[in-house]
């Protein structure tokens, strides 16, 4: 019960964080609008879907990769600054608060991503396939990303290092996902660009929902995701017990 209440209040706090909104909601919309200018009508080669659809999927997932900064900020603000003594003095377990942060940040991120998804549907008529499955995939990816970031912030001594790790992680995911430039050919690199990072894994699943092809790729991705989530949850608990005494 307390967990629900805490999540609700963190959620309300997040609604007032205009900078976060500007970066994670307005920026993707702006980028999609700019990319739409040049994408009109073209068809993306290997997948056979309109370029615009590919752009929309890429943008939504690219920004999910950075959504974990919410978790990071709130963990630092509530559990690692002077605020923590106030939270400690409450009749309420500190781990509950960490869970609450995790839950509300994930939900908030999912909400933001869905807003971008709806924007692309209504304005650019992007075909996302079954929206229920899209929601499920976004939820899964977001949860994993939040877990990754909470691991960073709890596992590293200095907050600044954790922040840099987060940025590096996001950029590395995009790089391995071949967003900026194609990786060299060869089986090793093609494996890297398909399964090595949450960005590509999420993309695999979404593209499978849109086209109905490469289902086995999507299922492998799903299994990797669930395994990843479990491992990350366990390490997060371990780091949390060490850091948040």
């Amino acid at each position: 019960m307390m967990l629900m209440k805490a999540s609700y209040f963190i959620f309300r706090r997040m609604l007032r964080d205009y900078i976060g909104m500007a970066i994670l909601l307005l920026l993707p919309i702006a980028l999609i609008s700019v990319l739409a200018l040049i994408a009109d009508g073209a068809v993306s080669e290997p997948l056979g879907i309109p370029m615009m659809d590919e752009v929309a999927v890429t943008m939504v997932f690219a920004f999910i990769m950075f959504g974990g900064f919410y978790t990071m900020e709130y963990v630092r603000g509530d559990l690692m600054s002077s605020m923590k003594w106030r939270i400690y003095s409450l009749p309420y377990g500190i781990h509950n608060h960490a869970y609450a942060i995790l839950i509300s940040c994930s939900l908030f991120n999912v909400l933001q991503s869905l807003l971008v998804v709806f924007y692309t549907i209504f304005v650019y008529n992007v075909n996302w396939g079954n929206l229920g499955i899209v929601f499920f995939i976004i939820l899964l990816v977001t949860a994993v990303i939040q877990l990754v970031f909470i691991n960073f912030v709890l596992g590293v001594k200095k907050y600044k290092t954790a922040e840099r790790l987060g940025t590096g992680f996001g950029l590395a995911c995009l790089m391995l996902g071949e967003v900026w430039f194609p990786l060299p050919d060869g089986p090793f690199f093609s494996f890297l660009s398909t399964y090595s990072n949450p960005f590509s894994l999420g993309q695999n699943m979404i593209f499978a929902t849109i086209t109905g092809e490469n289902i086995e790729k999507a299922i492998i991705s799903l299994v990797i995701f669930i395994a990843l989530a479990l491992v990350l949850a366990i390490t997060a608990v371990y780091f949390g017990r060490r850091k948040l005494i």
Partner: protein, 228 residues
């Protein structure tokens, strides 16, 4: 020139700054040539990197403002002009060294494939000044370093896309092709393209002059003394 030397001390005291300054340029030297433009891709994208590096350097001025160093400086016998001039000069020197290393490495890695490294170096140096002016103007709008820097990341990418760094400007609708000339990145991309296609060096005049004009405009916007 105490402020000038102090900028170096202050900036290089943090080891992470050195890494930040060199890791991205050195990494982008190795990006191979793509279908467009006919120049190693890293050399075309470099203007965006310069904007990012300049933003990191220019952050010092905002830091001075937020922790009230500027207020104390105004009580000292140093004019605001001296303060700004020496700071900007130091940043320009740092960025020029980075440009030099970048172009030099480019010559080693790409050899003949890199058309006229000297012209590229001139373009980058002029654009570094524009980028510094831009970061100064940008930071004059904000009060918090974190906010300014994180929003700037998005703005730089947007400017790169619209300005023809990521793809040719001709791919965009007619009305936008004219409008994006108001972005400094357009002129940086334009000038690297002129070098890439091997047209005459005198065509470079217009982009370079426009970049300098942009620099002056940004400096005028950003050099207003704000104490809070």
């Amino acid at each position: 020139m105490t402020i000038f030397t102090f900028v170096f001390k202050r900036f290089f005291r943090k080891k992470s700054n050195i890494v930040f300054l060199f890791v991205l340029p050195i990494g982008s030297v190795f990006i191979p040539t793509a279908a467009w433009p006919p120049i190693p891709l890293g050399f075309h994208y470099y203007s965006l990197l310069l904007l990012l590096l300049a933003a990191r350097l220019g952050g010092i001025t905002l830091e001075d403002r937020t922790n009230k160093t500027l207020l104390r400086l105004s009580a000292s016998p140093i004019s605001h002009f001296q303060y700004l001039f020496q700071n900007l000069l130091a940043y320009t020197v740092i960025l020029t060294v980075v440009n030099l290393v970048f172009v030099f490495l480019g010559v080693i890695v790409h050899g003949e494939n890199l058309p006229s490294p000297i012209l590229l170096f001139i373009i980058y140096t002029v654009f570094s000044m524009t980028a510094l002016g831009f970061s100064l103007a940008w930071y004059s709008l904000f009060r918090h370093m974190e906010t300014a820097f994180s929003i700037l990341g998005g703005v730089i990418v947007l400017m790169g896309m619209l300005g023809g760094v990521m793809w040719p400007v001709e791919a965009m609708p007619e009305y936008l092709q004219q409008a994006v000339m108001l972005l400094p990145t357009y002129w940086a991309a334009e000038s690297t393209l002129i070098v890439a296609y091997g047209t005459q060096a005198k065509d470079l005049g217009t982009p370079l002059v426009v970049m300098i004009l942009f620099c002056i405009a940004f400096l005028l916007l950003g050099s207003r003394r704000r104490l809070t």
